[in-house]
Amino acid sequence: MMGVAAAVVGVRAAAPVSAGWADLAYSFGGGKNIVNVALVDIRAWDTMGEISVLIAAATGVASLIFIRRRTGAPPRIPVDVYAAEPDARDDDPSNDDRPLGPRAWLLAGRTLPPENRSIILEVTVRLLFHTAIIVSLYLLFAGHNRPGGGFAGGLVVGLALIGRYLAGGRYELGEALPVDAGVVLGLGLMIAVGTGVVGLVLGGEVLQSVIWQWSLPVFGEVKLVTSLFFDIGVYLVVVGLLLDVLRSLGAEVDRQRIEADQL
């Protein structure tokens, strides 16, 4: 392989196919980040196939881990956890319907055995989680012109969720994102495919993108490229994949281990 790697640099005879991409990306794709425009516009079919593979892999993982049923949201905190610990409630009696008072850093921290908890990790995750979500949304929307994009944004959300799971255990995952991973995956693919179909219905090519420009009173000149919706679909698929992997290889494996310990 080292020989191949050394030889491959010198043997290029034809001009690279991407030679004109810099102009195409801005005039047709409407974005300045050529790699991102390539992913969501120039080579959109490639990305479409890729997210299909991701959904197949996520479904395969869930099918291998879950024995009987694999749909549904991650588990929420069981009610009896609070009933067993009355001091978990806030002192104010008007807050009795709220399971935990504002003193808790993570909602599901009390479901863990005390020796498995780390207050430093819980505080750090609590402080970083919302920042990470904002950063991921910024990456998603800025990706067309600056570094970022649907993949990077989705992975940042996934990292935030992994932090919540590591610090708070399997119930924290359900509290962080109480939706079925399959719904997120399906929604993402639906948006991505819908973007392609709309182009076809309106008389263009499949996955063709349109640049809209108008001026708003506060924001000034606003430019919207329809391939952003395709990128949002990719973003949702990546978030769904990470959530599916976490709830299968994380939460469900934990549950099966605890179940096996009790036998």
Binding site: M1, M2, V4, A5, A6, V8, V9, G10, R12, P16, V17, S18, W21, A22, D23, A25, Y26, K32, N33, I34, V35, A38, L39, R43, D46, T47, E50, V53, L54, A57, A58, G60, V61, L64, I65, I67, N145, R146, P147, F151, V238, L241, V245, S248, L249, V253, Q256
Partner: protein, 142 residues
């Protein structure tokens, strides 16, 4: 023409160790080998893209000819995500294999060998099906 020796050596090491691990019987080592080979392929694609240049983002003062080739970067981005998905799938396979058989070794398929050598179907040969190990989770389901 200059060649980046560090990248070439890294590709070689990743491929060498990765292929060695892929040849193992244990699925966990196969997984590690798969990850190493996947990263080696990504580095190879990056290396094939030509010499390093400016980031392929259109900005004032950067000509298109100075930019790095954007196509390999897009391909690598796709490959990384696919590698992640496949890695998660192999991990799930290892876990399932551990739950069912308490091991992750890929053993020779004896029946397959017998069929390949032309000795007839396995049912004719040994007449009975081996009992499942008793300590699997299917015990209660049967």
């Amino acid at each position: 023409m200059s060649v980046n020796v560090v990248l070439i050596v890294a590709v070689g090491v990743l491929f060498g160790t990765g292929v060695y691990l892929l040849m193992e019987r244990s699925l966990t080592r196969v997984l590690l080998g798969f990850v190493l080979v996947g990263n080696g392929v990504n580095l190879l694609i990056l290396h094939m893209g030509g010499p390093a240049g400016e980031a392929p983002i259109i900005a004032d003062g950067v000509a298109a000819s100075e930019m790095n080739d954007p196509l390999p970067q897009a391909l690598i981005l796709t490959a990384i995500v696919i590698t992640f998905g496949v890695t998660a799938f192999i991990l799930a396979m290892i876990y399932r294999s551990w739950r069912l058989a308490h091991g992750d070794l890929v053993v020779d398929d004896v029946d397959d060998r017998r069929v390949a050598s032309g000795a007839g179907s396995p049912e004719e040969a040994d007449g009975e099906v081996e009992a499942q190990p008793a300590d699997t989770e299917f015990e209660g389901l049967r």
